[in-house]
Amino acid sequence: MDDILEILIQDARKSPAEIAEMTGKSEKEVADAIADYEKKGTILKYRAVLNPEHIAETDGAVRAWIEVSITPQRGAGFDSIAERIYKFSEVKNCYLLSGGFDLLLLVEGHSLQEVAGFVSQKLSTLENVTATSTHFMLKVYKENGDVFQNTEKSERLAISL
């Protein structure tokens, strides 16, 4: 992967000037490359990574993984039914998988009831949905490469040769 992208993935707030210093490129080269990535849609957006547990504490947010079995539609396969499902704002992630079920959703709500309500009233009632299985998330250890707990780190000597 390009150095610029690798740096931005770690810290999207790094300025072109800082990235230029780290990569040995000129500030303009970096700014142009970023603009190009944005234009091409390689970089879709920049956002903060939040600790979901902290959000849960303040907002009472609840997340669940839901396995969904569906009957594919003639001509459209899984895509059109997947689209009907992922357009719900409660659905944060949606994947088509091989194996015992078809779609895997990450659904977010403000309470257990809200997520349960979404499953029973909106999801299960869709014509092509044949079964669902809901797993409420209890604790996040690691997400997108970030570890969400304070792990003990061994002390390095502050000075060594």
Binding site: D3, I159, S160, L161
Partner: protein, 388 residues
Amino acid sequence: MNKNKLHKISTLVDELPPSGIRAFFDLVLGMDDVISLGVGEPDFVTPWHICEAAVFALEKGYTSYTSNRGLKSLLEQIAIFIKKERNIIYNPENEILVTVGVSEAMDLVMRAILDSGDEVIVPEPCYVSYIPTVKLAGGNPVILETWELPGFKVTAESIEKLITPKTRAVVLNYPSNPTGASYTKKELESIAEVIKRNDVLLISDEIYDHLSYDIPHIAMPTLPEMKERTVYLNGFSKGHAMTGFRIGYACGPEKIISAMTKIHQYTMLCAPIVSQMAAIEALKNGMPEVKKMAREYNRRRRLLVAGLNDCGLKCHLPEGAFYAFASVESTGMTGMEFATKLLQQEKVAVVPGEAFGSGGGKFIRLAYAASLSDIEEAVRRIKRFVKK
């Protein structure tokens, strides 16, 4: 009881200077909340797949001695790895020895080859153990000063000037601790010429070889006729971030490796088996993580060096390792004064150049094996400090 007699230390050891610069070290270690650019090891924790292999080894009951030279499977993996990565061909049966880090390997080679009074040419600035290991083996270190040479690089001429009939070996470390200097193929070839012409041995410490950013690393034994004249030292501490595992290896002519093994057998017996098992995993599957860490160091390197030059501390862009060796001459302070005051006033730890040789008074060593945010904050503080 005559305590003077009872606790008398050998003259040889008694006359060795204490390691590094003890007082300054104690000052740093006694202080809290220091941003440290003073370390000689990666800030990364050993990649998990390697740690996991070590845990698995323990679970399986790998807690015994191994053969003196190391586990057969490790010796074979080392041979495969250096062939693939560096195109060096060594026979795992008699040309490789697994050691407790390069430090042990360096000690072994000196003891294996030196007779009392033999000379070893050691470039300065250099890693702190080289000169004491030569002395402990009864040899005489001959200092090759590179303080004023471009990029702190050893040149063929500078070596040749110091060669005498007593010269047994030349030590070369690249990329270098503390300067980060490395060598192009052409530069290495000219050094090799001197080595060949004078029939001396080259002890090549290439522990930082995977952290080479601008120059493709060329291993000394791959140059024509150099394999039989080189003892090649490498290990896992730096590239694989495995300092605490204490594991490395030496490759060289069968006769020398066999002599080193003899000493190793009596003094160390073998390298710890758990570390050997971890090293096998590192060799088999470790390169993607090594490359990832190297890319990260490279960014930090540019950031730190640009920052230092910006502060008026002249510093060339080091080709490798994870050190910047900056001149503090513009501040009117010595390396030691600079490091001490910087620590006291701004709580940033760096190593005074004096630690790497008596000519180091103009310099400090800064390690960029620290997080980007620590490097950025350290540079801000150094800037403030220099302006005062």
